[in-house]
């Protein structure tokens, strides 16, 4: 049998992507399908599954605890996204200079990203301790009243947001830095000759030319914020009183502590859908918003 060139290319292509496809299937696509399947069941792990149709979805959308988790996740994202993106940009601009030892600072800024979140969260737990913790000590220097941090429903969320910012700002800064270095120097040179100030250059050159990077960073940050889990497990276990019960923790708890696999899978499908939408946004608009050639 003689194959046409095009067919041959096709087969070759498929062969090349087979290994990653198998890996993705085993670890991502199949579990996704199974999760959807389980979301239609009532299953406590120990007894056989029972098909209950959309009952889990109905139950979830009418559950206060679920909507509380959605709210907490949104608040967490609202607290982390703007700060990490802005701070990341500012730090990137500062790091994008020909300073002596700048790579040392770059490493320091990036260090939290590669630090194990579980280990860091344990340290933060001590820092947030209301009586002998570091943060309250800092507050006391400025004669501010001590906070309860992890012992208070609302303050605990602030605490985990601070940890989230600490963890992610370096990542964003490095991406911004890469974006900054892709901007041709002669724009700035031309602007300098025209007598533009530093601030004008940032406003009229850097920010517009970085817009695609900013978009990417923002979307990635939103996704990361919606997926926050480790710091919650270690520091608050979703508490106090569900104050930090973000969606990933909500579904973990339902799955592995309450043994409601079906219900937890339903929450997982919901979370997946939200994140999928943001990913699509990034795919659809991220590429098109490149302002420079």
């Amino acid at each position: 049998m003689k194959l046409k060139k095009k067919q041959l290319d096709n087969i070759q292509g498929w062969l090349f992507i087979t290994p990653p496809l198998i890996v993705f299937s085993v670890f991502i696509f199949i579990p996704m399908g199974v999760a959807f399947f389980i979301s239609l069941q009532k299953w406590n792990l120990l007894s056989p599954m029972k098909f209950i149709g959309l009952a889990n979805y109905i139950k979830m959308f009418s559950s206060d605890h679920f909507w509380n988790s959605v709210m907490v996740s949104l608040l967490y994202a609202a607290g982390t996204v703007p700060v990490t993106v802005l701070l990341g940009l500012v730090i990137a601009i500062m790091l994008n200079q020909d300073l002596h030892g700048v790579s040392f600072y770059r490493i320091m800024i990036y260090l939290p990203v590669i630090t194990s979140m579980a280990a860091a969260a344990i340290v933060f737990q001590y820092l947030f301790e209301p009586n002998i913790g570091f943060f309250n000590y800092v507050l006391s220097i400025f004669h501010l009243p001590p906070m309860q941090w992890l012992n208070d429903r609302h303050q605990a969320l602030i605490a985990v947001i601070i940890v989230g910012i600490w963890k992610r700002v370096g990542y964003n800064a490095i991406i911004f830095l890469a974006g900054l270095q892709a901007i041709p120097r002669y724009y700035y040179e031309a602007a300098t000759i025209d007598g533009a100030s530093k601030f004008q250059m940032v406003r009229s050159i850097t920010i517009p030319l970085l817009s695609s990077v900013t978009f990417f960073v923002t979307v990635m940050q939103i996704i990361a914020s919606l997926k926050v889990f480790t710091s919650i497990v270690v520091m608050t276990e979703g508490g106090p009183a569900r104050g930090t019960d973000v969606l990933p923790y909500f579904l973990y708890k339902n799955a592995f502590q309450y043994h409601k696999m079906g219900y937890a899978s339903t929450a997982a499908i919901f979370l997946f859908t939200i994140i999928f939408i943001f990913t699509l946004l990034q795919f659809k608009y991220g590429e098109k918003r490149v302002h420079y050639q």
Binding site: F37, L46, S47, M49, Q125, I132, N151, P240, A241, Q257
Partner: protein, 421 residues
């Protein structure tokens, strides 16, 4: 894409037709001796200082015979061990022995995943189950069958910061015997400074269950079919704690861990496991004492800690080996060794009467408090949905004590819990 979908569908149907939990139906003694060496695992949930004495016992057992090799595997805290055991059980590869916390056994009992030990006990003439304190074994007895043997059983006791007692002009030997006395003592201690508290309270399930019992309330009715968390007694109990916090004499740690605070010396009294004696010895620099936690109208403390259970879906050889090790682990000598290294209770009468334990009880009365209040101990409810129920109760408690919610929100909590029963 169509093909991928089709493969996915086939896989899902395959998953759906698998029926879990069929397992083997035989239980109890099936063989009477081992013909070839066998390796078994015991999963345990006490880390740090507590795992060392257990590993010593395991090593000794392994070196004194050559048919059975026991591997001790630390699995994280109580809840983590329970989660992992469940996953391993569903996957069909559970360890034959596991240490489970008193309140976390419900799911395994309800779904018939444990092997009752009665047939082993009956077949083994040397094993005298009557030597075990019945107040302790009640925690591992369900439907009149004994499912586990005690390892780290405890009751909550009141730890006192004797230095703070003295500073407040109190006699540290005059510990409180009622909640009213506790209130007065805590008040005097908290008057020492704005960052000093007379009592640290928190919402761990077994502590609040003790509190409720002491006020005459129970979380469930007798058959565990209805939640009674909104009874007047329990509302009174919560209101009492709330008052202590509102008056600034107690601190409520709604967060995860209060150990840092206990060690820092700003807390006059705190109730913790008798097993924390070892922790206090290592981490606390002030003069500390131990008093009974039976403060209520009803004298009651909940049974805490854990027992070791034998798990189904394991081979007869493993079960045989497990029973051999379980006997060794809980024999008189090892109980004494374990207890003196941790502060947890010995559960055998012969162990308690041993000269070593008697000497410790005489020299350091802090160890004896838990034995004295053991007659008031009650077993925790074995409810399958307990982890979720505990969360609901804790949430309500935090809302009431820290956020000024009325105790009447417990009516809603009770009806939420009823749905889970």
């Amino acid at each position: 894409m169509k093909r991928a979908t089709a493969i996915l569908m086939v896989f899902m149907i395959f998953m759906g037709t698998l029926v879990w939990g069929a397992g083997n139906t035989e239980e109890g003694v099936q063989i009477t001796e081992l013909t070839e060496p066998v390796t078994i695992q015991i999963w345990y949930s006490l880390g740090a200082k507590y795992s060392a004495p257990l590993e010593v016992i395991i090593d000794k057992f392994n070196s004194m015979q050559d048919m059975i090799t026991v591997e001790g595997v630390y699995q994280g805290g109580y809840a983590t061990t329970q989660e992992k055991l469940l996953a391993a059980y569903v996957a069909g590869e559970p360890p034959v022995l596991a240490q489970l916390e008193q309140s976390l056994v419900g799911a395994f009992v309800a779904n018939d995943a444990l092997i009752p030990l009665d047939s082993f006990i009956k077949a083994d003439k040397e094993f005298n189950v009557k030597d075990f304190n019945k107040y302790i074994t009640q925690g591992a007895t369900y439907n009149k069958k004994l499912y586990g043997l005690p390892i780290n059983v405890s009751t909550p006791v009141l730890y006192l910061n004797r230095d703070l007692f003295r500073k407040a002009g109190l006699d540290p030997d005059q510990y409180p015997t009622t909640w009213d006395e506790a209130y007065d003592i805590a008040k005097k201690i908290s008057d020492l400074g704005s960052d000093i508290y007379g009592l640290r309270i928190y919402n761990s399930g077994w502590i609040i269950d003790s509190l409720f019992h002491q006020f005459g309330g129970k979380i469930f009715n007798k058959d565990n079919t209805k939640c009674l968390i909104n009874s007047k007694e329990i509302k009174d109990a919560m209101a009492f704690w709330k008052k202590m916090v509102d008056d600034g004499i107690a601190i409520y740690q709604g967060g995860k861990d209060g150990s840092t605070m206990d060690a820092s010396g700003v807390v006059g009294m705190v109730m913790r496991s008798t097993g924390s004696i070892a922790w206090f010895k290592d981490n606390v620099t002030f003069d500390w004492g131990v008093a009974p936690f039976t403060l209520g109208k009803t004298k009651a403390v909940s049974l805490g800690g854990g027992n070791v259970y034998m798990i189904k879906k394991t081979s007869p050889e493993q079960q045989f080996a497990a029973w051999e090790f379980l006997q060794y682990l809980t024999n008189t000598e090892n109980q004494v060794y374990w207890s003196t290294n941790t502060g947890y209770m010995v559960s055998r009468k012969s162990a308690k009467e041993s000269s070593k334990i008697q000497e410790i009880l005489k020299n350091d009365p802090r160890y004896s408090v838990t034995y004295d209040q053991l007659k008031d101990a009650f077993a925790r409810p074995t409810v399958e949905a307990w982890p979720e129920i505990e969360d609901l109760i804790q949430e309500a408690m935090t809302r009431i004590i820290l956020e000024g919610a009325s105790v009447d929100i417990l009516d809603q909590t009770a009806s939420d819990i009823d749905e889970l029963l």
